[in-house]
Subunit: 335 residues, 2 copies
């Protein structure tokens, strides 16, 4: 491996001067600069970034914790973050927690061991007081998931309000028996949505049968199974509000197989407004999340904290959602 010392020797100069050339320090004579550049060229020299990291005490790397990469929501979120990071010469260390508490802790330790300059959490498995512990080792930004218990910048959407609006929409379409499905039990996102959902039911004086709540539903296949479950209930719901478009799509497809009419027999609302929502038949009513904005803002906030040393403790950015009405809930004509 060729080091800065090799370059210095070949150029007949000191390591200091070579380093100065490398970092565009002004006080280097043109002639010497040329010598150094020539030597670097000839030796095919590239600085060792581990050494630079140690000396400069920064890694230019941000860790992003996501539960799984195969969930499109997180894939798109990452894509948005990646764009901003790349533009600012930062690397992304993508960490899959797989909804595992232990793994999450290991990744949080990246801050402790100084392997990253900052860390963005998009979901969380551990209690907030445990996570708060890590803020002393480096900046943490919350994106999507949130908690006012941990004093860090947060970029998110109002899931309570979104779920409330979705439920109201179903109720206004004449639905009276609305089922609810979600993934993670502990996540703030799921809790908020459930709160919003319950609030709407309460306001309209509608009941929530315990059998209509389905947990641990993540993908299309889970959606199919969930629909099977619902369609076998003695007291069937006439609508279902799901945690993701994937799940909703699985339900639609299974419903069609069973000749359950959507939206007349069962109205369905998804979440995320992923491409599939507008492609599936009937079109899926859903909550459009500002995924790109969320990712972008979260990374920008991180950069603000790291590069500009700004201290933005609890600084919440609340992004707007939009209820996209399509045919999967279009029962107006049947009221």
């Amino acid at each position: 491996m060729t080091t800065i010392a090799d370059v210095a020797k070949l150029a007949g100069l000191s390591r200091t001067t070579v380093s100065r050339v490398l970092n565009n320090h002004p006080n280097v004579a043109e002639e010497k600069k040329r010598l150094v550049l020539e030597a670097m060229e000839r030796l095919n020299y590239v600085p060792n970034s581990t050494a630079q990291r140690l000396r400069n005490q920064k890694t230019d790397t941000i860790a992003i914790l996501v539960p799984v990469l195969t969930n499109p929501f997180f894939a798109y979120l990452l894509e948005a973050m990646d764009t901003v990071a790349t533009d600012n010469n930062l690397q992304l260390l993508v960490c899959q927690t797989r909804y595992d508490r232990e793994k999450e802790l290991n990744f949080l330790s990246l801050l402790k061991t100084k392997q990253v300059d900052g860390l963005i959490l998009t979901s969380s498995e551990n209690d907030w007081d445990i996570i708060a512990e890590f803020t002393q080792y480096g900046p943490i930004v919350l994106c999507n998931e949130y908690s006012e218990l941990v004093n860090v910048p947060t970029v998110r959407m109002d899931n309570t309000e979104a779920a409330y609006e979705a439920a109201c929409h179903l109720i206004e379409q004449g639905c009276k028996k609305i089922a609810y499905s979600y993934g993670e039990k502990k996540s703030s996102v799921a809790l908020e949505r459930e709160n919003g959902f319950r609030k709407a039911l309460q306001e309209y004086g509608l009941p929530l049968n315990k059998e209509w709540i389905i947990r641990n539903v993540y993908d299309m296949e889970d959606g199919r199974e969930a629909l099977n479950y619902l369609s076998r209930l003695p007291d069937k719901p006439d609508a279902v509000f799901t945690g993701s478009d994937q799940v909703a799509t699985g339900m639609i497809i299974e419903a069609k197989k069973q000749n359950i009419n959507i939206p007349d027999d069962l109205a369905i609302v998804g979440f995320d407004d992923q491409p599939i929502a507008s492609i599936v038949e009937p079109g899926l009513t859903t909550i459009a999340q500002p995924i790109q904005q969320m990712g972008t803002k979260a990374m920008e906030t991180m950069i603000e904290v790291i590069l500009h040393k700004r201290n933005l403790s609890y600084h919440e950015i609340l992004l707007p959602f939009e209820l996209i009405v399509r045919d999967s809930t279009n029962r107006i004509s049947f009221n």
Copy 2:
């Protein structure tokens, strides 16, 4: 920041001894060991991994280059690699090239600057002679994409044979005018598939109308547009072989909207056997890629090279595919 020197001072010992405790060196007296552990505990000490990397000359990090994270094929591939890597205490640096030559070169430089111990390529934008240049800086493994021009271990599937088999299947179903869609023009994967496809047509003496070849088709939306295009052609195909299940699904959904019967008017074959293939109606005939195996084997090969210093220059692992026949091509009764 607490360093090994702080621990040494508090424990009343030298840095050497602390380091020995850290690395489980056998020759440390129990009593001293206890002192060191106590000091580490009290100072909440964690070794700085940048310093360790510099000293140990390894990063325990592998870079994985993928075009985009939002393509499920790559998301699942990454997931498989991540599992193996995590089990071997390796970190993954996920790098999105976005099909950009310049970005890919920057990521390849991670090897030069010693930021990673190895690099896995799952696609490639640059010419092979350029990529070959980088093999001198660290181990490269090819996964999915391949080339016999660059002398590195390769894990892949026989795309030629897979496409050939898919095309033969369509032909045996009575299709005579088969369209072909794919994404990346330059990729070895696309080239192989096209070769296999053409070989089948040739053997059966079938024509390939230029208008039936569609480029740059990646996702569901592209699939919809592609179907629109095909259905407006004066000389319409009676089957289409696509590059991914996403694209095929987009086609199926659009075809249904236009009352084009699948498979009778148009038989469709996808690629990958993603979850959606068995969920969509009609079920999608597709080539099941051993995605998990590919990711696993690729990472295992990398580990073999790095951890065990094995030198596996051109060592090709060819994994089996499977043609999964579903209703989207089931025209037997109509022959």
